[in-house]
């Protein structure tokens, strides 16, 4: 029993896509699809050559925000979307009827349809691939070259993520929606 979250030191991101490829290899994500579990958001630079505003561009790694109050779970008519014991928002593909309500409810566009199974898929913190097999972290965290991610148990006050969140300023995405994401962007 834990309450898993992730802190992202996103200023270190170089958009190398190591996280995306590690996720695909680890979780057997379909190649060639428009959408998959994690991605890096690119904010295009503002200005006109040669006067570009460096501060206007950024790379922001993203994935399911693992909300404590997940709109996707709320709208799911079959309970295919559920919170597991570690607070991870998961999808049970056997129960998914592809109504796509969850996709429309998710304010982070973190869900997509896996064209093989015709069910909705999303990041689950590698729960079924790594965590349940004794690994202590996600594939994206482990592989990241500039070490953007800190994964850990938010309920454990001694965990590194808890310590970091205590010590450093951070924000969550679309906080005003009250979704209570467990992905924290360190500023």
């Amino acid at each position: 029993m834990a309450r898993y979250g992730m802190a992202l030191d996103y200023k270190s991101c170089i958009n190398c896509k190591a996280c995306e490829s590690a996720c695909k290899e680890e979780n057997g994500i379909l190649l060639g699809a428009d959408s998959h579990r994690i991605w890096v958001g690119v904010k295009e630079i503002e200005g006109v050559f040669p006067d570009l505003s460096i501060g206007s561009t950024s790379f922001e790694p993203s994935q399911c925000q693992q909300c404590d109050n997940a709109p996707c779970q709320e709208v799911c008519p079959t309970n295919a979307t559920y919170y597991d014991d570690n607070g991870v928002v998961r999808v049970n593909p056997d129960q998914c009827i592809l109504c796509t309500y969850c996709m429309q409810a998710c304010p982070y566009d973190a869900r997509y349809i896996d064209d093989r199974t015709l069910t909705v898929d999303k990041c689950n913190f590698c729960s079924d691939t790594r965590l349940m097999n004794g690994e202590t972290t996600t594939a994206c965290q482990a592989t990241c070259p500039t070490k953007v991610r800190i994964f850990g148990d938010l309920d454990d006050p001694e965990s590194e993520i808890s310590q970091v969140l205590k010590a450093r300023e951070h924000h969550t995405l679309k906080t005003h929606l009250g979704t209570k994401p467990k992905l924290y962007y360190l500023t």
């Binding site: 958009n15 695909k24 379909l30 699809a33 570009l52 950024s58 997509y112 064209d115 482990a142 070259p145």
Partner: protein, 817 residues
């Protein structure tokens, strides 16, 4: 079934949905039929059975050699994870490292030896046994060397970078005895390695973990990943300890981490550095103590720069960078020195003045005192390995390399362009009739593809050793399939630096097909060729004839064995046996055991290595790191980049570095002997201005491909599906070019068509697309005609010091198709 909801990948408010990925691939433009192909490529999922093994190895998806742990289950590789023990790779695997599984599982791999069946280049091959392949090679080699009277240099060869490169070159250069070897150096880092070596005594390593001020010009460490530089730097940019100035005609991912981005006119970096130097000299802001103690002929150089009036105003006209910016950068650099670095760069095959540029950078860095010191350019320590030597015969009739006089300092790794052009333009002093390629794809990697093809067509024999059916493989007579890195053990390697270590690439799965590692291929070839080639030497080599005169048959055999004519003798032991000797003979059996089990070894690793946090590890305690090793006196053989032939460097230094223990500001010897200016000087005649209405074409890398070598990798294509032409938005608008429109780019040597990516991230007189795409080989299912090959338009110019390619001197026209 497709979802109708667009991906909201732009987290900050309502940022426009434009391009995903700085390299210019637009996700919206990917055609669905292509994607159907990629989706056929499966990813192995771990089953987590009790058969699961974790095996340490080293990655070979690029040149960095990061430490990996392979998850193998029932003989199937299911995941590659970073091995935290290796100081150089800092507990990471990039996108390519993760995609190593695809390199193993790619159905298009070369699976068994092949002999050409149709016309050369037609791509028709017959499967043969290894012995049949060797036999074919032997017959041709015997004929060629008989007709060329044992001039071993009639056999040409090339290699790409790799841990087994030396195994291959020891055979081709040592055993076969050819002088005609060319490698990646002259299309990559020859000028910077040469420039820094001649100036500082070594290329060194930029200590980006501790530098406070970094000028990164042209180098793009966010996309062209180099370890540990990439990981060290970008954790400290954006106000977190390292100020970063990026000087680049393009706004790269590296520039997005910069404090200052200076878009420079292509090919004018030397003027920029000379002006930085001028400012520091006239300000007298340089480190006077260091200059006095450690820089030879400093006053001469000072006088040279000042009397030539390399002022910021002068440089502004040339570089397009404002004089005030130049002053500021110079002053900031010196204010932060010695923890200030003008980053050396790697693929520095840019301009005709590249060598003097690297010299000027090295001297400017030294003026801050940031040499052999924490936060500067360090040389560190290298852990020695035991020796493994091969015994090579001496061939009297082997001629010197054909392009010898085409540039001032053509060394053992040659000048690719000059060498190739010498073969096809009829100026070669003797014919080169056979060509062996290992792990290099010159059809796509050397400027002017048409000429490379012409060169290959002239050959009586083309042998290619590789893992994938590249465009160069398509030109082969004999194809010898190499096992991929995950299927073989390679020569153990030592990695120098502040935190030196030894690392091992070990086999993680059995070879899937009838392939071999290079050492076994050399063994097989050696066994086949030894006796017949010895007979040829006996026929034409007068020294050998004298040696053998009057000897009995038994004595001849003894002579043959003792003098290395048994071409397989250095390759009979297994790689594991050789590695064992090289490690255990120096560090003992325990060290060998540790290395095999953990993939990494250095003395006291068990004591020093500690997990500091979720992401960070300690390799050495701070006081045990090797920052300052030479204390003002540059040692003779410091650590070099892993891609460097250290023997060649030694020769260069021996011949031309007069003040071997100091920073050499003036290289009089080089000027006297070779006519290369003794000090960095801006030469207008070597600068190509861009005429109005035309563009200079530049090329570069991105973080998901390694040149053309990974072009067929499904996982990587999924990240970046093709290359796009960067074109300034205003120019695009003038020409009515929109995102995805097909445009034609034409240079003096060829024209290509490519999709456009209008952007503000490039200037109005420059065009760019990334290298690595555009394979023609029909055997590459995914890479075939995907994107465009830059070397169809890059002119084959080279600079005159090392004969290094000048890839950014090509003027092109652009039109909408």
């Amino acid at each position: 079934m497709k979802t109708e909801i667009s991906r909201r990948r732009f987290l900050q408010g309502s940022a426009a949905l434009t391009i995903v990925g700085v390299s210019g691939a637009a996700s919206s433009l990917i055609e669905s039929e292509e994607k159907a192909k990629i989706s056929d490529y499966g990813l192995n999922k771990t089953q987590w059975s009790d058969k699961l093994q974790e095996i340490s190895t080293l990655c070979e998806m690029c040149v960095n050699k990061c430490a990996a742990i392979a998850r193998v289950e029932n003989g199937v590789l299911t995941k590659l994870n970073p091995n935290p023990l290796f100081p150089k790779s800092r507990n990471m695997l990039c996108a390519r490292g993760n995609a190593g599984i695809q390199a193993l599982d790619d159905p298009d791999r070369l699976k068994y030896p092949l002999i050409r069946a149709g016309e050369r280049g037609e791509g028709k091959f017959t499967r043969v046994t290894w012995d049949e392949a060797y036999e074919y090679i032997k017959d041709k080699m015997v004929k060629i060397l008989d007709e060329e009277k044992d001039n071993r240099s009639a056999i040409g060869c090339c290699a790409g970078e790799g841990m087994a490169e030396h195994t291959y070159t020891s055979f081709m250069q040592g055993k076969i005895g050819t002088a005609n070897f060319v490698n990646h150096s002259s299309i990559c880092l020859a000028t910077t390695i040469g420039g820094y070596t001649l100036t500082l005594g070594g290329y060194g390593q930029a200590d980006l973990e501790n530098a406070e001020y970094v000028i990164m010009a042209g180098a793009n460490r966010a996309e062209a990943i180099v370890t540990p530089d990439t990981m060290d730097l970008f954790k400290r940019t954006k106000g977190r300890g390292a100020k970063l100035v990026v000087v680049d005609p393009r706004f790269t991912n590296t520039a997005s981490h910069a404090d200052t981005w200076l878009p420079i006119e292509v090919g004018t970096d030397l003027a920029f550095v000379l002006a930085l130097t001028y400012v520091a000299l006239t300000d007298e802001s340089y480190n006077k103590k260091f200059a006095k103690e450690n820089m030879s002929d400093f006053e001469t150089y000072k006088e040279h720069v000042i009397s030539n009036n390399y002022t910021p105003e002068w440089a502004e006209d040339i570089t397009g960078i404002k004089a005030e910016e130049i002053r500021k950068v110079s002053r900031d650099f010196m204010a932060h020195a010695p923890r200030a670095i003008y980053y050396q760069g790697r693929r520095t095959a840019w301009s005709l003045q590249d060598y003097q540029l690297r010299r000027a950078q090295a001297i400017f860095s030294a003026m801050g005192g940031g040499i052999d010191i924490k936060g500067g350019i360090i040389f560190g320590k290298t852990l020695p390995l035991g020796e493994h030597r091969t015994n090579s015969p001496i061939y009297d009739n082997a001629e010197v390399r054909i392009e010898k006089g085409k540039a001032a300092l053509i060394g053992g790794s040659g000048s690719w362009i000059a060498w190739r052009n010498t073969i096809i333009d009829g100026t070669a002093p003797y014919p080169v009739r056979a060509f062996f390629a290992y792990k290099q794809n010159p059809m796509l990697s050397v400027p002017n593809t048409a000429k490379t093809k012409q060169m290959l067509e002239k050959m009586d024999l083309v042998v290619v050793i590789d893992t994938m059916p590249s465009d160069t493989v398509m030109m082969a007579d004999v194809v010898l399939p190499e096992s991929v890195y995950l299927e073989r053990e390679d020569p153990v390697k030592t990695f120098g630096g502040a935190e030196p270590s030894i690392a091992l690439r070990k086999k993680v799965v059995d070879a899937k097909y009838d392939t071999k590692p290079v050492i076994e291929i050399m063994r097989g070839l050696g066994e086949k060729l030894s006796k017949p080639l010895f007979e040829i030497s006996k026929k034409y080599d007068e020294s050998l004839q004298e040696e053998l005169e009057g000897l009995t048959e038994e004595e001849v055999l003894e002579y043959y064995n003792e003098n290395g004519y048994d071409l397989a003798d250095g390759y009979r032991h297994s790689q594991e046996t050789i590695n064992h000797h090289m490690v255990a003979s120096v560090y003992g059996e325990e060290a060998w055991k540790t290395l095999r089990e953990k993939g990494v070894f250095y003395p006291d690793m068990d004591k020093y290595f500690k997990k500091k946090s979720v992401n960070a590890y300690q390799y050495y305690p701070e006081h045990k790191k090797s920052y300052s090793m030479i204390e003002g006196q540059l040692i003779n053989e410091p650590y070099h980049d892993t891609c460097v032939d250290t023997k060649e460097i030694s020769v260069l230094k021996k011949e031309f570095r007069t003040a071997t223990k100091k920073v050499a500001c003036v290289l009089s010897n080089l000027e006297k002997k070779k006519g290369v200016p003794s000090m960095p000087v801006w030469n207008d005649e070597l600068y190509t201005p861009t005429p109005k209405g035309k563009f200079k074409f530049i090329t570069g890398r991105h973080g998901q491909f390694t040149q053309s070598a990974t072009a067929n990798n499904a996982l990587l294509i999924d990240l970046l599906s093709e290359n796009y032409l960067w074109i300034n938005k205003r120019i695009a608008k003038e020409k009515d070019i929109e995102l995805g429109d097909m445009v034609e780019v034409e240079s003096s040597i060829g024209k290509i068509q490519i999709k456009a990516y209008p952007t503000e991230k490039i200037g109005p007189n420059v065009l760019f697309f990334v290298h690595g795409f555009g394979a023609e080989s029909s055997e590459l299912t995914l890479a075939h005609q995907r994107g465009v090959n830059d070397n169809l338009i890059i002119e084959d110019q080279y600079e005159n010091t090392f004969g290094s390619a000048a890839m950014h001197e090509t003027i092109v026209n652009l039109r909408r198709v």
